[in-house]
């Protein structure tokens, strides 16, 4: 049994191809069912986002990878030659490394973006609900979740907004906490105003008020944002009510002067005010920023923050990769110990069976011994078996090389004819039914 991951991503495939192999369109469960019905892989997880499509599987032979590759083209009706050159294949421990990097956002288009972890979780949930997962994939994906979590909490990789709109919202949250009870005023109704308004709306702010020199455009945007439009000459009242002001008008002179904002601050009793000036040329007089309790950020300030955040993310990469390394080592160790364990168990069972059989055979001769002597014989034989097995068991558990494990297991199976026992162990009934049913 071996792990495989076959797929393509923004690193290997153009967007058109990524779109045409999107598994989520027909539903991940449909893809999983189709894979299972073709007998590809014992355990299966399908991950499909706009930047990647990947199939994780546990297979018996190396052909599993080819089968999955073919499945990509056949399932989506694309010539195999077209897909094939864009596919990557990972095997064994490399699967863990790849998935952990994906979950941590290290393989993302925007490094450190947080959505991917949720997408990996969702993909696993679908597979797990459909009973397509078992021991290997369960452990693999749960390890991946903890890698994602660790990278987020122990490094600054996911930190800091990397777009101007998110930078503005992150700042607003740092000032006001939850934005639910906050009122927003947008001056201007152009494209920039609309984009920022949509972002703010997604934060469920209490109210969005829009003012523009032409009332009709303000009203149009207000409808789009579920907000209220006010006339341009009523802006002063709106200034008093707002906690966050976005200015994006096309005016050539500052719309908000120091005295105007100062007046508003007085009537709003100096509650903090966050002004985001995304207009070029600027809509807000720079002197407004020196007012107490007023936080003024213009488009250049926000761009600078984004640049700094991107640079900082780069610096955190090494720490995130170190976490991935640690977890890969841990997962690999677990996988290997798991591979040798059935052999060790079978070996011990074999020895114990021989001991019991011999005692059974001697039973008529031992029958007339006192119970004390009989229990002593039982104990001594047991100890002999224990001692005989002690060193081999320790040696087997310390083997870490995958090929060696297979060789050892093979040798032991032949020498002690364990194969029958081992098969019974490895192909547990529930594992079998999970995929082939």
């Amino acid at each position: 049994m071996r792990l495989f991951a076959v797929g393509l991503s923004h690193r290997t495939a153009p967007v058109e191809l990524r779109e045409s192999v999107d598994f989520s369109r027909k539903g991940l469960d449909a893809a999983l069912a189709e894979l299972a019905s073709r007998g590809i892989g014992r355990e299966l997880v399908v991950l499909s986002t706009c930047n990647r499509a990947e199939i994780y599987a546990v297979g018996e032979t190396d052909e599993t990878a080819d089968h999955i590759g073919r499945f990509f083209s056949e399932y989506h009706d694309i010539p195999h030659a077209e897909v094939h050159q864009h596919l990557y294949v990972h095997r064994g421990p490399d699967v863990a490394r790849h998935l952990f990097r994906v979950a941590a956002g290290l393989d993302s288009l925007v490094v450190g973006e947080p959505q991917i972890l949720g997408q990996v979780k969702a993909a696993y949930a679908v597979a797990s609900d459909g009973q397509f997962t078992a021991a290997l994939t369960n452990r693999l994906f749960h390890s991946a979740f903890s890698v994602g979590k660790r990278v987020r909490s122990e490094t600054g990789l996911g930190e800091g907004a990397v777009s101007v709109s998110y930078a503005a919202i992150a700042l607003a949250k740092k000032i006001f906490g939850d934005l639910k009870d906050r009122a927003v005023l947008i001056l201007g109704a152009g494209e920039m105003a609309k984009l920022t308004g949509i972002h703010l709306q997604s934060q469920h702010v209490k109210q969005i008020t829009i003012a523009s020199r032409t009332f009709q455009t303000a009203q149009n945007l207000a409808e789009r944002l579920d907000g209220v439009a006010v006339a341009w000459d009523r802006v002063d009242a709106a200034l008093t009510a707002a906690d966050i002001i976005v200015t994006a008008t096309g005016a050539s002179e500052p719309v908000l002067t120091r005295s105007r904002v100062e007046e508003a601050m007085r009537s709003r009793r100096h509650r903090p005010l966050f002004i985001i000036d995304i207009a070029v040329p600027r809509d807000v007089d720079a002197a407004v920023g020196s007012l107490d309790q007023v936080f003024l950020y213009n488009i250049d300030d926000l761009r600078t923050i984004v640049q700094e955040n991107l640079a900082r993310r780069g610096a955190e990469l090494a720490r995130a990769e170190a976490i991935v390394d640690q977890e890969v080592a841990r997962y690999t160790a677990w996988m290997q110990s798991r591979e040798i364990v059935p052999t060790v168990v079978a070996l011990r069972q074999r020895f114990e069976a021989i001991r019991r059989a011999e005692l059974q055979r001697l039973e008529p001769k031992l029958a007339n011994l006192p119970p004390e002597a009989r229990s002593r014989i039982d104990e001594v034989t047991r100890l002999i078996v224990e001692k005989l097995l002690l060193t081999p068991t320790e040696q087997l558990k310390s083997v870490s090389d995958e090929a060696m494990i297979v060789a050892y297991a093979d040798a032991l199976n032949r020498l002690f004819s364990l194969a029958q026992d081992k098969d019974r162990d490895a192909v547990a009934p529930e594992e079998e039914s999970e995929v082939s049913s």
Binding site: E154, K173, F176, R269, H270, P272, D292, Y297, I305
Partner: protein, 272 residues
Amino acid sequence: MHLVPLLLYAAAAAAYVAHFAWRDPRVGRLATALMAGGVFAHTFLIGMQTVQAGHAPLVGTSAAISAFVWLLGLSYLYIELSSDERSMGAFVAILMVALDVIPALNPGVAPRPPVLQSPLFTVHVMSLLFAYASFALACVLGVTYALLFKEIKAKQLGFFYTRLPSLASLDLMNSRAITVGWAFLTLGVVVGGIWAWQVKGSPDPRAQAMSLADPKILVALVSWGLYSFALFARKAIGWSGRRAAYLSGIAFAVVLLNFVLVGYFLTASHNF
């Protein structure tokens, strides 16, 4: 034994600072565990002193500071566990270590003079110490507010920006701490007044020195005035945010001055 809480607090402070700087959650949990261990050891120490002396060890500045540090630790742990926010820990733990040095170097319980044999004494001291603990937290919140405010205002988003909760929540917690502290300060001062009036005829010279002219009492009333103003200004004239933060810092400086300096050297009425 009296050094154990101090050592645990110091270790907790180091861990909180490390957690604040590098944000390793394991270090954060370690810090909380050390802080809880320190408070536990401190509880044990105060319990032992109570058994030995036959009364709560609240007599004398040293003992009062020890009880104050203990209450501060308890209040802080309560806030940390209920808000799941560890970033204040670094500041609070450092303050606790700085203050706990005094009782740790001056251990021992002072005998209780007859004039203090009153239940009012315990109410007076405990409510004031609890008020001071709240004010200490308010001060820490104020300091962090000012640091974060400065970063956002100057558009230099860095160290504190990534580590502290939002300005609004710091301000809200500050306001709550001041309100709770003010209520206990008022209670403590009123009970103290009643009790001073009760022991007026006592031959103890300290009882006779109980007057508004005594520095300890005067400064206590000044701090009551400052906190009353802070509450009033927030409600009536919109002194929230940065001004409230500064005010809670200044007022706590007055409290500390009264608690440590005046308590040790200047007062004629409170030198038990």
